[in-house]
Symmetry: D2
Subunit: 136 residues, 4 copies
């Protein structure tokens, strides 16, 4: 996401520190959202699809919550910190429960193993961005 980074750094009210933490989070959220959407569709093609229903549902949930969170974070300034914090917290949980669900099938389905890792990275990025918000 090279263009996103360049747009962030040419924002009229930039703050370099926030930009770096934000960029890591935006990257992780986009990768997680797309990994989850793709993993859900891969699960739908597996012969044992009936064992993957819970995983498919959490994959779609996680993708939706990550995208909404990324959109919120695009605001950058004039931010409502209580709202940011609350949505990041919800996103962190979405990533966590999806990562756990995917992990259970990691031994059988490579896409679930990779997706679980994408969710963990996204969870960590939300956690780290939340930590920088405690000063606000």
């Amino acid at each position: 996401m090279n263009y996103t980074y360049q747009v962030l750094t040419t924002h009229p009210r930039q703050n370099q520190f926030e930009v770096e933490a934000l960029m890591v989070c935006l990257r992780a959220l986009a990768d997680c959202a797309q990994s989850c959407a793709t993993c859900a569709n891969a699960c739908l093609n597996e012969p044992a699809v009936d064992e993957l229903i819970h995983c498919i549902r959490l994959n779609f949930n996680c993708a939706d919550v990550c995208l909404a969170t990324a959109r919120l974070l695009s605001g950058l300034t004039g931010v409502n910190v209580v709202l940011w914090r609350s949505q990041l917290q919800a996103c962190l949980i979405a990533c966590q429960v999806c990562s756990e669900a995917c992990s259970r099938h990691a031994a059988y389905h490579k896409h679930c193993r990779v997706c679980a890792e994408a969710c963990r990275q996204s969870e960590l990025a939300c956690h780290n961005l939340l930590a920088t918000l405690t000063h606000l």
Copy 2:
């Protein structure tokens, strides 16, 4: 949203009580999301747009969070209650802060006055659905 209601009541694992509370919430979220998106665009057409920037941003935030929450609630069963609760909490806050921002312009812009009310209804619906989840 007549079709949505009919789909909800023909779901293979329906629960009438939840369905009613859910339907009120889904209706409120859809109306709030669309009202916010339309209000943001109406604000962009106002001559004093520079005084409405904060409102425009929160309008878009609220629309995005409402739609992601509605999508999550579409799962119905096999739900992860911790995730539902957390996302409903974030949505309640998004509606609250957007309602407050729109209220400040209610005397000058009718669309902001109506949108503030749409947000309050959506906030209330999230609050009520959260109350039914405490038993789970």
Copy 3:
């Protein structure tokens, strides 16, 4: 979607004729998007889920395309007609193929029967709004 209608009619650059056609379409798109998301999740709970994979996927596709189209239509004025037309055309197709897929299971799954009807209404609303755009 009472609030949405009120916001539309208090827009600073309203046009009553467009507002009515737009409102019918926004209502249909919201109902279709939510019906599809709920139907997809209902399908995921059916014992014969493996026969419904194609339907589940088109349900999610249709929901996503309807929501993006509704968001685009929230712009109201200053519109790029070529873009509106192209997205409405894509949405019309999404509704059409989802309606066809759901119809095939209508005899066995009531939620698919209702969802097929929601898609048809949404397809029709897009078609009618497209017809009003030919004059622009």
Copy 4:
């Protein structure tokens, strides 16, 4: 988007050629969507915001259409080619008109210059993926 790529290549019905073209497109769409959302918010912070209204609106439109298109493309197999083609065509137009709008402010606002380039890359990626679909 490393995880997305790994999920794509471990999909049960992969097709290496499609995967590469798809991956380029998914990457471009995610970068474009986030660049547009961030550029819209940057525009909202510019002193001359009233001259950027058209650009802000097309930025949000482009972000919404790109995300819906990316979600559609996540289906991978069992695809409805007519729907894919139609949505990719709408997305191509969304990128094109947003790129044109941003280009007009490129001399004054760096974020618009970068965003215009992100849109052009996304438009090109949609064009190239459309070309591979003609064989289907």
